[in-house]
């Protein structure tokens, strides 16, 4: 019988975790310290270590979640990049103060994708004088997702003399938001070279012990090495996504709506699952202050963790975080932390319990209470603060705009009926939170390595945005650079739009080298009658599809 082996590696801030899965079983789980000076070597070390556990003969797949592109962007190490934009009328780009220079060209595509005025070819030719061949170029037009013609024309012209990277906005996202499309395309172009160098290394690894390498994305899905060359930007922020995928792989949760709480030393991250799907950011990921259109799981970080600073102020009482206290007292630190409270109360065994008890006793004396009671109060405060943050989180989600009468009358139910916790201290803090919120809870098995398991269990995500306008007789799928005339526009209804979107999603997935046989679901759709002068003149349809990102289910014990 054939087994399917997958290794997941998640490069984190402190450790690099690796997991080896055989079908639905975890075979091994290891971690090595992350070497920030040489990410590649610690990543390869993690791979080598986990491969030592591998006894099989079948080929192994590798899913990599790295911080490479995230770091390049956060540290401002991207290649010199120029943005060539076709903004048309509207918001003055200069007023948005982008931290990079933009060359603005004449040309105007309107909201329906009609070309109101063409590119000025003299301006296009003049680009040659201002763009350096060593620079990467990002080409972005307003409403290019409705009609990519200007971006495509520019790409053809630029390719005549520019040998460097050229990124096109419409290929990266079918969503509206010109400023975000500019930023996304700019970042994608600026990290393309780093991604290329990175790929060269891994292409060598591919074909030895490893049959196939995939890169984890911010939406929790994977893409091929080759695809990541064109869309490097999608590999940002894959770490949080890996943890969420770990939850989806390992959790026994019977509910469709649940809360994910990832408790760490410094911060606690929250994410929500609604109707069985992880909630995504409305527009896209934000990285190092850049707002992008990169699809990403929605997470919110709170400055509350096991190593948070505990302070007492007259009138305010005890507060925890958001600063980090450093090492807990039980590990020789100077400041008492929630970890010390858990250790003193016997809820966790880390370091020296006596030191923690002593610490609380000394502090408690100044209030004239027992150290044990103070430690308990600190844990109660932790629970209360976390519960408040959870409520704020759902309030924010519940403020998502609603655009139909139907939705206002039947707003989607987002609140959780179950909590899944992960992270090293989850066993201590999660049960009291769940009791406080009156919800059942589950602490994930392999809590500390769930990210690597999630990376290994993740599957390909790929989707398209179809926009059809029957009055103009045109259909566009920007991600594929596809634009065609509709043969019989009068008969192109929403059903036809769905059919075409599904067929095109499969075609697109196959062209990228993915298994396109899975279920395709419709993430979002819209359909409007166009009425002009008391008469219906056509319809407009939008269908956004995705290959269902089914995560492999994984058993909670080591084989």
């Amino acid at each position: 019988m054939n087994h399917s082996y997958t290794i997941g590696i998640d490069v984190g801030g402190t450790n690099t975790d690796a997991a080896l899965l055989c079908d639905a079983e975890v075979v091994a789980l290891i971690k090595v310290p992350t070497d920030h000076q040489d990410l590649l070597s610690s990543t390869k070390e993690a791979l080598q270590t986990i491969l030592d556990h591998y006894k099989g003969a079948e080929p192994v797949k590798l899913h990599l979640s790295t911080t490479l592109s995230t770091n390049v962007i956060a540290e401002g190490r991207g290649a010199p990049t120029k943005v060539v934009a076709v903004p048309g009328p509207g918001v003055n780009l200069r007023s948005l103060s982008f931290p990079f220079s933009i060359i603005e060209l004449e040309g105007y595509i309107d909201h329906r994708g009609r070309e109101v005025s063409p590119l000025d070819m003299d301006q296009v030719l003049a680009l040659r004088d201002v763009c350096d061949d060593g620079e990467a170029l990002a080409v972005v037009g307003k409403f290019s997702q409705r009609n990519p013609i200007h971006e495509q024309q520019l790409a053809r012209e630029l390719a005549k003399w520019h040998s460097g990277v050229i990124s096109l906005g419409h290929r990266l996202s079918g969503r509206a938001n010109f400023p975000r499309r500019i930023v996304t395309t700019y970042l994608n172009a600026s990290i393309a070279k780093h991604q290329g160098d990175f790929l060269k290394v891994w292409e060598d690894v591919q074909g030895t012990d490893i049959s196939e390498i995939a890169i984890l994305k911010a939406d929790g899905g994977t893409m091929t090495l080759n695809d990541s060359r064109e869309r490097a930007i999608e590999s940002i922020l894959s770490g949080p996504a890996a943890s969420i995928m770990g939850v989806k792989a390992l959790s026994q949760c019977p509910e469709n709506n649940y809360l994910i709480v990832d408790i760490g030393g410094t911060t606690t991250d929250l994410a929500a699952v609604v109707d069985g799907e992880v909630l995504y950011e409305r527009d896209g990921a934000t990285i190092a202050g850049y707002k992008t259109l990169v699809p990403a799981v929605l997470t919110r970080s709170i400055g509350l963790g096991g190593d948070s600073k505990v302070t007492y102020e007259e009138g305010l009482g005890i507060t925890i975080g958001p600063q980090r206290a450093g090492m807990p007292v039980c590990l020789g630190g100077k400041h008492l932390t929630p970890t010390d409270a858990a250790v003193a109360l016997g809820l966790a065994s880390i370091g020296e319990r006596e030191a923690a008890i002593q610490g609380w006793n000394t502090w408690a004396e100044t209030f004239g209470i027992r150290g044990e009671d103070l430690a308990r109060q600190v844990l109660d405060t932790f629970t209360a603060q976390l519960a408040r943050a959870v409520d704020d989180f759902y309030r924010e989600l519940e403020n998502m705009p609603l655009y139909t009468v139907h939705e206002v009358l039947n707003p989607p139910e987002l609140r959780p009926r179950y909590i899944v916790g992960l992270g090293a201290p989850a066993g201590v803090y999660l049960p009291p939170l769940a009791a406080h919120l009156d919800l059942p809870c589950e602490v994930l098995p392999f809590s500390a390595g769930a990210n690597a398991i999630g990376a290994a269990a993740a599957r390909t995500t790929v989707g398209v945005t179809l926009q059809a306008d029957t009055e103009l007789g045109r259909v566009t799928i920007p991600e594929m650079g596809y634009q065609e005339e509709l043969h019989r526009p009068l008969f192109f209804d929403i059903g036809k739009a769905r059919e075409l979107a599904e067929a095109k999603t499969r075609e697109y997935a196959s062209s990228l080298g993915y298994d396109a046989t899975g279920e395709i679901y419709i993430v979002e759709e819209e359909s409007f009658q166009m009425v002009r002068g008391f008469r219906t003149v056509g319809q407009t349809h939008m269908v956004r599809t995705q290959l269902r990102p089914e995560v492999r289910k994984v058993r909670g014990d080591i084989k």
């Binding site: 903004p87 009328p89 509207g90 918001v91 003055n92 200069r94 007023s95 948005l96 105007y108 309107d110 909201h111 329906r112 109101v116 307003k142 409403f143 509206a176 938001n177 010109f178 400023p179 975000r180 527009d283 707002k291 519940e398 403020n399 998502m400 705009p401 609603l402 655009y403 139909t404 009468v405 139907h406 206002v408 009358l409 819209e526 409007f528 009658q529 166009m530 009425v531 002068g533 008391f534 008469r535 219906t536 407009t540």
Partner: protein
């Protein structure tokens, strides 16, 4: 940085009827444009959800015949509720200004509602203004500046005799456009004489004329009256591309108007050039409200006559002079001459509901009172609701005499067999019975 709250509710699943201009698609391109310009996630623009207005909130302002549930749809309730949300954002200090960018519109809806007029059933601004007074007290002074191309006859009707509200409507001359009213001679009831200010503009008036009206009339009046809140009922059908009006404003003109007026709360009204005007006007308006650069906002089509004709400019200047003269002399007017010397001022009206094609007959008596705006009684019936309905109305700050008399009148009407339905409306009372009493 000015923070702007945006309550966007395009009601993508609601239309008056298939193929009606007030349709699902109306704000689609506005949504597309705002989204593509990145304004939904601009750091100074914050989007909020609308909510349903409650019966109490609506019936504080309106008398709906025969009942609320028989006359309004959920979309009307949400548009009114969304407007209240916008006002609360400003009052609560969550934002500096707010824009209720929503439909269906409201400014043709009168106090008494038998059905839909001019695509409107509930008057969103009016419900919001009364909500503000219920929250902040009856002494609040609110100015409404209506910049829709159609006369805001509904809003004028609701606040006709209300000293707490200054209602300024600039619009295409009523002799040339629905609803055919809004002349300078309509100046308000005996309790608020002069506080209804109509500025009828000749067809073809462009940005130049509109800016002249702002500078010569609207801004000086506002400076003098000193409202606590300025509300802009922002119809967008003065645009040169609007299919059902004949004005000549541009998106730039609308943005300049917004900047000059600096309203606290903006509420969308009409505007049916949904592709060539609304996306650009709304983007310009949002930018102007937030104090951002709108200089590059421009519609895709050129105006035929960029310059407003000389004769139009002269006509606009004349209207400005006339309106200012009326404003400055409002306190010298002899009310006895205008409203008579009797105890009551009587008004009889025929009101046409174009959207629902019904006629209403109204007979109204306003108590002339020197201590308050005076109580009122309205007898109303329509081709849809033929049984006459009696409505007794108290003003926001009634004097004890008026309150007593109105009570007596109400008791009398409930005993009168000619009226199957009698309504008592006391907006200021916490215990107000704003519901209609229906006799069997």
């Amino acid at each position: 940085m000015t923070q702007v709250g945006l309550v966007f509710f395009p009601a993508f699943d609601w239309a008056i009827s298939p193929d009606h201009p007030e349709r699902q698609e109306r704000l689609l391109y506005t949504r597309d444009q705002i989204q593509e310009e990145g304004l939904f996630d601009h750091p100074s623009i914050h989007e909020y959800r609308p909510r349903r207005a409650t019966d109490e909130e609506i019936l504080r302002t309106h008398v709906v015949i025969p009942s609320l549930d028989q006359r309004i749809t959920e979309s009307h309730r949400i548009a009114a509720g969304g407007t209240i949300v916008a006002a609360d954002l400003v009052v609560d200090g969550l934002v500096d200004r707010a824009f209720a960018l929503l439909r269906p519109p409201g400014h043709h809806a009168n106090r008494v509602v038998h059905g839909a007029r001019g695509f409107c059933v509930l008057n969103n601004e009016a419900v919001m203004v009364d909500h503000l007074r219920a929250r902040l007290g009856a002494d609040l002074k609110v100015a409404i500046v209506d910049t829709d191309a159609h006369h805001a006859d509904g809003t004028q009707d609701v606040f006709y005799n209300d000293p707490g509200v200054l209602h300024i409507s600039l619009h295409q001359d009523g002799r040339t456009l629905y609803p055919g009213t809004g002349f300078t001679s309509e100046r308000g009831g005996p309790g608020a004489y002069g506080q209804t200010v109509n500025i009828p503009l000749p067809p073809g008036t462009g940005d130049e004329g509109m800016l002249m009206v702002m500078e010569r009339v609207v801004l000086p009046i506002l400076r003098e009256w000193k409202p606590d809140y300025i509300i802009n009922a922002a119809g967008q059908d003065n645009h040169f591309s609007d299919p059902i009006t004949n004005m000549s404003f541009s998106a730039q003109g609308y943005a300049q108007l917004t900047e000059l007026l600096s309203p606290d709360i903006v509420v969308l009204e009409g505007g049916y050039s949904i592709e060539s005007a609304l996306p650009y006007i709304n983007v310009g308006l949002l930018l102007a409200l937030a104090g951002l650069d709108y200089s590059k906002v421009q519609e895709p089509i050129e105006r035929k006559n960029r310059e407003q004709g000389k004769s139009i400019t002269e006509q606009v200047a004349k209207v400005c002079d006339e309106v200012m003269d009326l404003w400055q002399t409002r306190s010298q007017a002899d009310l006895g001459e205008v409203f008579g010397e009797a105890d009551f001022f009587e008004r009889r009206r025929q009101i046409y509901y174009d959207t629902d094609n019904i006629y209403e007959s109204q007979q109204e008596y306003v108590r002339l009172c020197s201590s308050c705006a005076g109580w009122r009684v309205i007898y109303t019936s329509s081709t849809r609701n033929r049984d006459p309905v009696g409505v007794v109305l108290l003003p926001w700050k009634p004097c004890p005499v008026c309150t007593g008399e109105a009570r007596e009148q109400y008791e009398e009407l409930t005993k009168d067999e000619r009226f199957r339905q009698v309504v008592w409306q006391d907006p200021a009372s916490k215990f107000c019975r704003c519901d209609g009493t229906t006799k069997t």
